[in-house]
Structure formats: C-alpha cells, structure tokens
C-alpha cells in the first residue's frame, strides 16, 4: 500500500512517525521519572519540561523533514518527471541540475541519460528523414521516367490493387470513374485475361518472363494490348507491372484506311471496267454511236471526279497523319538561328508566331543549316533574315537574304545532297517528303527568300496552371513496403 504513495508523502510519514515516536518516548520517560521521584509538587515542572522538549523535538523533526523534502524528495520528483517527459515526448533541452545539488551523482547521471536519449532520438529522426528523402527521390525519378512513357503503365499488388499508374494509363482505364490508388484493377479491366496471365507467370517461376495479353476495359469497350511482368515482393502473391497500349485506335485507323481504299478501288474500278467494255464493243472503222459516246463521256467524267476526290482526301489524310512530334515555333526558330550562327553566318530573327509545329525539329534545323551554308558559299551573302509566319491554317519558315535570286535548279541540287556527314541517308528532299511539304524560292526587288510551309496549330497557353502530375504513386513511407525499382 505504501508503494502507491508518492515519495514526498512517504518521507513526510516517516518523519511524522519519527516525531511521534520521539514524543511518545519523551512522554514515557517523563512519566516514568515522575513516578520514580514520587513528588506530586514536581508535576508542573515535568509537564513544562515535557511540553518544551516536545516542541523542540517537533521543531527539529519538522525542520529536518523540510530540508529533506526540499533538497531530496522534491528534486527526485522533478528529475523523474523530466526524465519521463524526455522519454515519452519530444522535449529537449538541458535539465535543471541545480535543484538536485544535494543528490550527489544522481543529477549528472539523469542528465547523461537524458542526453543519450535525445541523441538516439535525433539519430533516429535523421535516419528516418534520410530514408524518406531517398524514397521521395526514387518516387520522383520513377514518376519522371514513366510520365514520358507513351504507353500506360500500372503497378499492381498480388491482390490486384493498383499501386501506381501514369497518365496514359489513367486515360486508357478511366471511363465514368477515374482510376485511383488502392482500387481493384478489375473495376476497370475485365479480369479473365489478367488473372490467367498472373497465374501463368507465377506457375512459370521465371522472373524474366512476360506475358502478352489482350484485355478489354469495363467502361468503354476499348481493346488494350498489355504485357505483364511479375515483381518480386515480400510475402504473398507477387505483384506485377502491366503496360497497356490502346489498339482500338490502331484497329480503327487501319479499318478506316482499308475502307477508304476499298471505296477508292471501287470508284476507279467501276468506270474503268465500264470504259473497257464500251471500248471493247466499239464498231471498228465506224463512227461512235451517240449513245455509246454519251456513256463513255459519263464514265470518264465519273472516273476523273473519283481520282480528284481521292487525291484530295489522300493529301489531307497524309498531312493529318504525320507521325511527328510537336515543337514550339519559338524553339524551332531558335534552333535554326543557333545552327546558322554556329556555321559563322549572321542571322536576324523576327519573333515567331505562337504556334505549335508538327515537325522533326532536328531534321528541319539541319536542313536550314545546310541551305544557309550553301547560300553563303554561292554568293548569296549573310546577314540572313529568319522568321516563322502564320499562313492561314499553317505556318511558313522563311529564310531571307538581300541579293540575287536563287534558281530552282540549284536549289533542287542542294536538296538532293545529304544534310551532313553524320546524316548520310537524310537529304533535304527526304526531310520535305517526311513533312509532306516542299521548299521554293521567292523574291522581288532584290529581297529573296526560301519558303518552307509546315503544319501548325495555335499554341494555347493556360496561365498559372499547376504542373500536371503525370504519374501517381502513394505518398508517405510504409505505404507499399520496399520501393519498386524498374
């Protein structure tokens, strides 16, 4: 029971008991002495002595208790509280050892223990911070790496929960509900092919094996070509990486082209066949009957119209379907200027229109550099003037100079040359063909230029938009066990 009382209370009780015991002993001694003396007239003297002695004893004990309490018990309590505070919370700072000056080595020992505890705690915090930073760096690297990947990438746990996805994957999976971390993959994809592939790879037991599958989304009926690889993990069924590619668009494009080709062939075959038949039955050596002449004219008109239509559609489709990356007009112009100046040519540039060009910037810069070099070497002097104008729905790169006109024959010769020793297979003509365009000279009154039309679209810049997150990983330590390194 005494263990439940506080230290100070226990010490108080000890001193109280001591005082009580001393008073009882004094009283007993005085009573015994009075009885032995046997003089009733000395009673008041004994009482006086007893009271005085009792008060002195009480005062002494109280004083000693007070000294004990202030210099021993209370400091012990305070030290204990300070140590407990440092053990259970984030309290730092030095302890007040002055209060425990009568406790010998206890205060320094407590201080040392507290310091050691703080040191350990700091070391642990630093280790945690280092590990958190390392994981955050790895996460950023992974996000940056996978955000530029054009295919959808998903990391899933062994229980088919989504642990990671990039923006292309979100686009492929998302229908009415956007994908999210910790959601089940089969909320977005039909499970059969994925489960079978997962089981096959687990049974194969080969860490390098991959499984190619065709799966469909639950929402929009998109057909996705997917590749699955397992990821080693700690315990439980292994997770996996799923790369997704939408083949729906490819299939649609191919189907559209096949359909267009069928229509084209049909539109050409019919009038051609009809004309062959008509010519086949023409009476030789006789005038063409009026009905047959009319029929032949109709078929030729139809054939002519079909060829013109198909040519126009082909022209439009070819320009739209160019597999070229977008590049800002300003960046392209700056690259061209840098190339020309790198060749020792003086260039003045005008501000480029805010356009997004669909082009192979590398090849176009090489082409302009090649032409600038040839112009300078053949008597068409710098400074050159370089600009990128908006021209209706498209744009034109214009390389200008003051001086004699450039003949088309000379230009055609330059365009047939490789663009450089490191580009032996790329000529100006091949670059123009890849961009479905051409290049020609224009000029009046001594101001000459080379004009290069390119496909472009207006560059829409949204002000103050937050940076787009292109990949999504769970944040915080411990969300997914050890980091996944790809």
């Amino acid at each position: 029971m005494l263990h439940r009382l506080s230290l100070r209370l226990r010490i108080f009780l000890i001193f109280a008991a001591l005082a009580f015991g001393a008073l009882v002993a004094l009283a007993a001694g005085l009573v015994f002495g009075f009885q032995r003396l046997g003089s009733p007239e000395t009673l008041s003297a004994f009482v006086q002595v007893g009271v005085i002695a009792g008060l002195v004893i009480l005062g002494l004990v109280t004083w000693v208790w007070y000294l004990f309490d202030v210099n021993v018990a209370k400091p012990i309590d305070i030290l204990a509280g300070a140590l407990r505070a440092r053990a259970h919370s984030d309290v730092s700072g030095e302890m007040d050892t002055a209060i425990a000056r009568y406790l010998g080595d206890l205060a320094p020992a407590a201080t040392a223990a507290a310091a050691s505890l703080a040191e350990t705690r700091n070391a642990l915090a630093e280790a945690v911070a280092r590990e958190t930073t390392r994981l955050a760096d790895e996460k950023s690297r992974l996000e940056a790496l996978l955000s530029d990947v054009p295919v959808g990438v998903l990391l899933c746990s062994g229980e088919h929960q989504i642990a990671f996805y990039n923006t292309p994957a979100a686009g492929l999976l998302g229908g009415d509900t956007a994908p999210g971390l910790d959601r089940y993959l089969f909320d977005y994809l039909r499970e059969g092919p994925v489960r079978h592939a997962h089981r096959r790879l687990i049974e194969a037991g080969d860490a390098d094996a991959a499984s190619d599958i065709l799966c469909s989304t639950r929402s929009g009926g998109q057909v996705l070509a997917a590749r699955m690889r397992l990821i080693e993990g700690a315990g439980g069924p292994p997770g996996y990486v799923l790369t997704l590619r939408d083949v729906t668009a490819d299939l649609t494009t191919r189907a559209r082209r096949d359909a267009a080709l069928s229509v084209a062939l049909d539109r050409i075959r019919r009038p051609t066949a009809n004309l062959m038949t008509l010519f086949g039955v023409l009476p030789e050596g006789e005038p063409v009957p009026a009905r047959m002449e009319t029929a032949m004219r109709q078929e030729v008109t139809g054939l002519s119209a079909a060829v013109n239509d198909l040519s126009r559609h082909h022209d439009e489709d070819r320009a739209e379907g160019l597999p070229l990356a977008p590049a800002r007009a300003l960046d392209l112009l700056d690259g061209m200027r840098a190339r020309l100046e790198g060749l020792g040519l003086t260039v003045e540039t005008a501000e480029a229109a805010p356009l997004l060009m669909r082009c192979n910037g590398f090849e176009l810069i090489a082409l302009i550099g090649h032409l600038g070099q040839r112009l300078a070497a053949s008597g068409h002097p710098a400074p050159f003037h370089l600009r990128l104008d908006e021209a209706g729905a498209d744009a034109r790169v214009v390389l200008g100079w003051q001086g004699a006109a450039l003949s088309l024959a000379t230009l055609d010769g330059w365009l047939a040359e490789p663009l450089g020793e490191d580009l032996p297979d790329i000529t100006g003509r091949s670059v123009l063909a890849a961009h479905a365009t051409d290049l020609w000279p224009e000029g009046t009154n001594g101001r000459q230029s080379l004009v290069l039309p390119l496909r472009a679209a207006p560059l829409r810049i949204a002000p103050s938009t937050p940076p787009q997150r292109d990949a999504f990983l769970p944040s915080g330590l411990g969300a997914r066990g050890p980091p996944i390194l790809l």
Partner: protein, 129 residues
C-alpha cells in the same frame, strides 16, 4: 483574239502524247494558234523564240521541271507578259502554292475537265484584253 488582231498563241509543254493530242484538238477548236514541245529542255528556247501569249506547262517533265521553266520565264523581264497555266497530275495544295509562288498565273490538276481548262485558258488570255 490578241490585242493586235492576231490569234492567241499557246505553247503546250507536255511530255505525255495522249494529253498533247487532246490539247491539240481543244486548242484548234478554240481557234488558238498553238505549238507543242515534249521536254523541259526545249521549252525555254521555244518560249523565247515564239513569245507565246500563254504557256500550258506540265510540271513533271523530263530534263527540266515545269517549276524551273516557270521561274525562268518570270526572271526574264522580256517574258513578263507571257501567262503560265501549270498542269500537274499530283495537284496537292503544296504543289499549287509552289507553282503560284514561282509565278504561275493559274494551276490545274489532272485529270481536269476540258471545260474547266477551256475556261481557265480564256480567263488568262482575256486578262490581257
């Protein structure tokens, strides 16, 4: 008729014989004086020699392209009044732009309706009148 009362002179620069036959019939029926060369190399000497009112110029020619011939005509101040109507079997928008930029007065894609060609020729020739 030209301003001086003579027939309009048209030079056909076309390497494909069948088209040339059709154009020959058409030019005759329209009442134009016409001539034909079948290669690009012959075109400029003939143009300088005969100074036609209009050149029907095919783009894809052997030896010298129609574009080069068009540029050469436009670079010669003495031939400034010669109209040029370019013809091409490919006829993309870019080719059209290039032809017009090099100085062609008109551009027509094959296969064309002869009615369309007739109208275009009249438009260009009457532009001088």
């Amino acid at each position: 008729m030209a301003e001086d009362g003579r027939k309009h002179r048209i030079l056909v620069v076309e390497d494909e014989d069948n088209i040339a036959i059709a154009l020959d019939f058409l030019m005759t029926r329209e009442g134009y004086a016409h001539d034909r060369v079948a290669s690009g190399a012959e075109a400029m000497p003939r143009i300088r020699e005969t100074h036609p009112d209009l050149v029907l110029l095919d783009v894809m020619l052997p030896e010298v392209s129609g574009y080069e011939i068009c540029q050469s005509v436009r670079l010669d101040p003495a031939l400034a009044d010669v109209k040029i109507l370019m013809m091409t079997a490919r006829g993309s928008a870019i080719e059209r732009q290039k032809g017009i930029a090099l100085g062609a007065d008109g551009f027509i894609s094959k296969p064309f309706e002869l009615k369309e060609l007739r109208q275009e020729v009249r438009r260009l020739l009457q532009g001088e009148g």
